[in-house]
Symmetry: C2
Subunit: 227 residues, 2 copies
């Protein structure tokens, strides 16, 4: 399907038909999700595809039993955890070992561990970037655990959008949900408290009443500015 | 362009050619960005398209003068601010006034102001959702300013991905940047401290040396789980 057609087709669907979604459709969308850009290519995301019937029911209930979850053919949970940098960095260092770009080696060899590690140094790092920042441009945000969480959540959201568009491009539908009980979802998937549950995404084929109305957007002039 | 072709084509480009990007290409991508799904349709995003040459230079410097910014034909800053719910809600209430779904009216009429407003009630809200959550599923996260910031950042990231894919689908290239000095970017665009600067995205046509190498992804089994 044409890219812009997929963007127009994608709507949040709150009621699905009984038609099953072929696993290949979901797998192809997962592959597209994993091609999203992400911070320093640290790939700090995880995709949990809940296929067990009992767990699916529990997850739907944890999503406040809303129609988008209850009638879903498939349910996936996208999570973010910046600690994954510890797995990705050695993999990347190995992958780029023959790459002639020295700055790439310095970036993954030295800068990434300084940014993602040494969290106990956060107050010192904060002081350093904000004092040095008085004199020259400095990246201020990759300092605290909260900053790193936001960075990981952002990258995962980019992957979520690829996933939803890829499902639309294959003629099926999705609904991204943030209305869930994170404590219960964490228990169902056995996630650590550190893990950010970015979204639950349901997949299926839309029914007529699954679409709640027109697509309303506030006037472009309220949100787009040329400066 | 086919959706999956656009996903494959999109790579982070760190050096652009001198070929200008027609404004229509950027505008079409902005329109696609604004069709992204977003939390409660509150559209808590803003897109700042920096066209003034002086401001563009300043912004590139605030992006650590990296090639992806310095050689860019166009630079856009995507921001998030949950306070925008105050503009969106009356607009939506007006748009849905003839919609027969009562739950939709209750959602925007009552639930949204309770979730997004009354931030001084955050401690009481926190206590309520976590005590009630012992007995039944409860959404725990839309309570503090930090929670609302994360929700707004997430929605904006979805829009960013639509934007980047839409540029790719039109044969041009992008680079999402988080390596910027937020204090300087804030000054250049005259943003409030509350505004989250989600990413700076550059646009142009790739040069050969703009692509730094292969596309490395850690093995799928490390990040995708069927449960």
């Amino acid at each position: 399907m044409d890219f812009f057609e997929a963007v127009s087709r994608r709507r949040s669907i709150r009621n699905y038909s009984d038609r099953p979604v072929p696993p290949d459709v979901v797998n192809r969308a997962i592959d597209a999700a994993l091609l999203a850009p992400n911070s320093s290519n640290m790939q700090t995301w995880k995709i949990h595809w809940v296929r067990d019937e009992q767990k699916k029911r529990e997850l739907a209930i944890a999503c406040m039993n809303q129609g988008a979850a209850r009638t879903a053919q498939e349910l996936l949970v996208f999570t973010a955890d910046s600690i994954l940098w510890k797995k990705t960095r050695p993999f990347l260092l190995d992958s780029i070992k023959d790459n002639p770009r020295k700055d790439l080696h310095a970036y993954y060899g030295k800068l990434v561990p300084f940014l993602y590690g040494y969290r106990w140094l956060a107050p010192a790092k904060w002081l350093f970037v904000n004092v040095a920042g008085l004199f020259k441009p400095m990246v201020r945000d990759v300092v605290t655990s909260g900053d790193l969480r936001e960075v990981a959540v952002k990258s995962t959201a980019l992957a979520c959008e690829n996933f939803m568009l890829a499902i639309a491009a294959q003629g099926f539908d999705t609904c991204p949900m943030e209305g869930f009980d994170k404590v219960r979802v964490r228990k169902i998937l056995n996630l650590s408290r550190r893990t950010a549950i970015v979204m639950v995404i349901s997949v299926g084929e839309r029914t007529e009443r699954g679409l709640w109305g027109e697509r309303y957007r506030i006037p472009r002039s309220e949100v787009v500015f040329e400066v």
